[in-house]
């Protein structure tokens, strides 16, 4: 039996421009002509992917894992035909539908019904396919009542559910999915996972990129680990995940608590992220300290309502908190901004000792523009925080609440 998908030494090169953003202006080009320069010296080659080869049999589902910047998204973009490889080739023996984002092409002015048709057709569904599944899509999303309401009046959760519902009814031979499961509420995530399992058990092939290792493990029999654009490991999912964990351990984050990002891709607005404990850059925190997580961003288009979302997970990957500024204070500014920083400050860190991981979501009111999974890792040292010096039992407390009051009214 032929594999449904074959990758033969696929490589992708980007030329990074170190100044003036990621697109050219004619002036630069004309300037180059005048100076008789062949290429600007500020241009640098960067291989986002190098020599990736593997093949997938029909019905197999493959997880693609790796750290941020390992080349996962680039690989998916090549598989989705969005961008061509620089070298190598891919042979596909089935239709590929890709889901690099939920709700691609959603337009806020159009109604829910209209957006289902628009989004469906952008994803490659025929109108009669959409007609056929329309009621099921709406039911899956649970937005029956708002069918003829413009999308801009939907809550972001409803938008996501509607978007995912459309995608869940795609019927290609190969489905490429990027991290989209990370959004929405837990119940809905599970529903989507079940729907996807239906897809893979019906003989279709799924390529699934995720940082959610338990989702990868339950959905994919085989996984590929990428590291710095190269294929580091391929094997059954539990082995690959183990390799990934080892890699993460090796790369224990620098204790300075500052990460600089290569910001030369225009769709990656975050250029720096910091973690501060008691206002000093450090990834060593202690129980009850003032913890600040700060990102610096620069976007091409101004954002009306920049949104910072933070998820902090324990060493097992189970979320401890997941918050964004809208929950607490609404919009942070009434002006559009294109550059600046946003901080989340926890004045009194309510975590017990251990190792924690931080996911950062950055976006506007409608979408995540950039998501950094496991961006930071920080440790929390034990500290005394009750006046007695006694501690509540860690086994039955996930968080400690600092200011619980006790009162006895004797009669």
């Amino acid at each position: 039996m032929n594999p449904i998908l074959e990758l033969h030494s696929v490589s992708k090169k980007f030329n990074i421009h170190h100044e003036g953003g990621s697109y050219l202006s004619l002036r630069d080009r004309i300037g180059d002509l005048v100076k008789f320069k062949k290429s600007r010296k500020s241009e640098e080659e960067f291989w986002a992917l190098k020599d990736i080869s593997f093949s997938i049999n029909p019905g197999e589902s493959i997880g693609i894992i790796g750290k941020n910047g390992a080349g996962k998204s680039t690989l998916l973009k090549i598989l989705s035909k969005i961008t061509p490889p620089t070298e190598g080739k891919i042979i596909s023996r089935g239709r590929i539908a890709s889901l690099l984002e939920v709700g691609t092409g959603f337009h806020p002015e159009l109604t829910g019904r209209e957006n289902v048709y628009l989004n469906g057709s952008i994803l490659g569904m025929r109108k009669r396919e959409i007609d056929k599944h329309f009621d099921a899509i709406i039911e899956f999303a649970g937005t029956e009542k708002f069918l003829d309401t413009p999308l801009k009046h939907y809550s972001s959760g409803m938008q996501l559910r509607l978007a995912f519902a459309v995608a869940a009814f795609l019927e290609p031979e190969i489905l490429v999915i990027d991290e989209v499961l990370a959004v929405g509420d837990v119940e809905f995530q599970k529903k989507c996972l079940r729907k996807m399992e239906d897809v893979s058990s019906s003989g279709r092939t799924i390529l699934f990129v995720s940082h959610n290792m338990s989702a990868v493990e339950s959905l994919c029999s085989k996984s590929v680990l990428l590291k710095n654009g190269q294929l580091e490991f391929i094997g059954n999912s539990s082995d690959t995940i183990q390799q990934y964990m080892n890699l993460m351990e090796e790369n224990l984050l620098s204790h300075t608590g500052v990460i600089l990002f290569n910001s030369d891709f225009s769709d990656k607005p975050i250029y720096k992220a910091e973690i501060l404990c008691d206002q000093k850059n450090s990834s060593n925190a202690y129980m009850g300290c003032r913890l600040e997580i700060k990102i610096y961003f620069k976007t091409e288009i101004s954002l009306d309502s920049p949104l910072l979302g933070i998820i902090i997970k324990d060493s097992q990957g189970i979320p401890m908190i997941g918050v964004n500024n809208r929950h607490y204070v609404g919009n942070l500014t009434s002006n559009a901004v294109s550059e600046g920083s946003i901080s989340m400050i926890i004045p009194y860190l309510p975590f017990f000792e251990g190792i924690y991981h931080v996911d950062i979501h950055f976006g506007n009111a409608f979408v995540d523009i950039e998501v950094l999974r496991d961006c930071f890792q920080f440790t929390v040292e034990p500290a005394k925080f009750t006046s007695t010096g006694e501690m509540p039992d860690k086994k039955i407390n996930r968080l400690f609440i600092n200011d619980i009051a006790w009162q006895l009214d004797a009669k």
């Binding site: 980007f14 050219l24 061509p84 080739k89 891919i90 002015e109």
Partner: protein
């Protein structure tokens, strides 16, 4: 599932595809043309009090201005057509061209978010923007018919049935070339964002839209002006109303100019479209 090399879905993804129009793929995605056009038409008139009336109002007001200042005040001749009808006939086609290349030119940039996330033949986007302009034309065309009746403009009906659709087709060809070229260039060099409105404005006065070519006496200047591909479209559109025949060689030059632009635009777009997602 049957997985063989000769099934319908077999394809390869390679670094550089040989140039091909890939018409088959475009036809496969025909519904997407409809949905993009439909989206743009809907969004364009959502939350406007006047709605579709805007499609009529713009050429109508332009016509009134030109009629007053140029037709009456300057007494520009109009190929024996009543000046308001003359001006309006030029302007409704011109509006297709100008809004067509403006929207098509900006379309790749304004749809960058979609381009970066999903594959479909990229030509769908500029073509759909041009289809939006044609939708507006069809509305304005009804007003044109009303004007003809109001001004008692004689029309050769048989000629009208031949030349009006032909003129529209020539307009589409004339719009497609520069539209696609600008769309592709705009992805790479955002300078074209500023070039487009200026270009459209300048071309309006450099085309015999609001005046007949006969007022130009210099032969070479005439040839230069008719390089504007819209000249052919507008003359063809006016033919059913004109008493004398136009200079066919000028019409032919203009049409060929449009065809050349069409192929240049198409070729450049096809050549660069693979890298749009990296640049947008």
């Amino acid at each position: 599932m049957n997985v063989t090399d000769d099934n319908d879905y077999y394809f390869e993804i390679k670094p550089k595809l040989a140039f091909s129009l890939n018409l088959k793929e475009l036809i496969e995605y025909k519904e997407l043309f409809y949905f993009f056009t439909w989206r743009d038409v809907k969004v364009k008139y959502k939350q406007t009090a006047l709605g579709f009336i805007w499609a009529i109002l713009q050429p109508l007001i332009m016509m009134a201005i030109f009629t007053f200042f140029i037709g009456n005040a300057m007494d520009v001749p109009s190929d024996d057509i009543k000046y308001p009808v003359f001006a309006f006939s030029g302007l409704i086609l011109w509006t297709v061209f100008s809004s067509g290349i403006t929207n098509a030119g900006n379309s790749m940039v304004s749809n960058a978010q979609i381009i970066k996330k999903i594959y479909f033949p990229r030509l769908v986007i500029p073509i759909s923007s041009i289809l939006v302009s044609i939708f507006d034309f069809l509305i304005a065309f009804m007003v044109f018919i009303v004007l003809i009746v109001l001004y008692h403009q004689p029309v050769n009906v048989l000629k009208a049935f031949i030349f009006w659709p032909t003129a529209l087709l020539v307009t589409v060809i004339a719009t497609f070339g520069p539209g696609c070229l600008l769309a592709a260039l705009n992805v790479k060099y955002r300078d074209f964002r500023y070039v487009i409105p200026f270009l459209v404005q300048a071309l309006l006065f450099l085309t015999p839209v609001i005046y007949p070519i006969s007022i130009i006496s210099n032969v070479w200047l005439k040839y230069l002006l008719v390089l504007n591909p819209m000249y052919a479209a507008i003359i063809l559109f006016r033919m059913p109303m004109m008493k004398s025949a136009p200079d066919y060689s000028l019409v032919l030059i203009s049409f060929i100019s449009g065809l050349i632009l069409f192929f240049i635009g198409l070729a450049y777009f096809r050549k660069t479209e693979m890298y749009f997602a990296d640049l947008a």
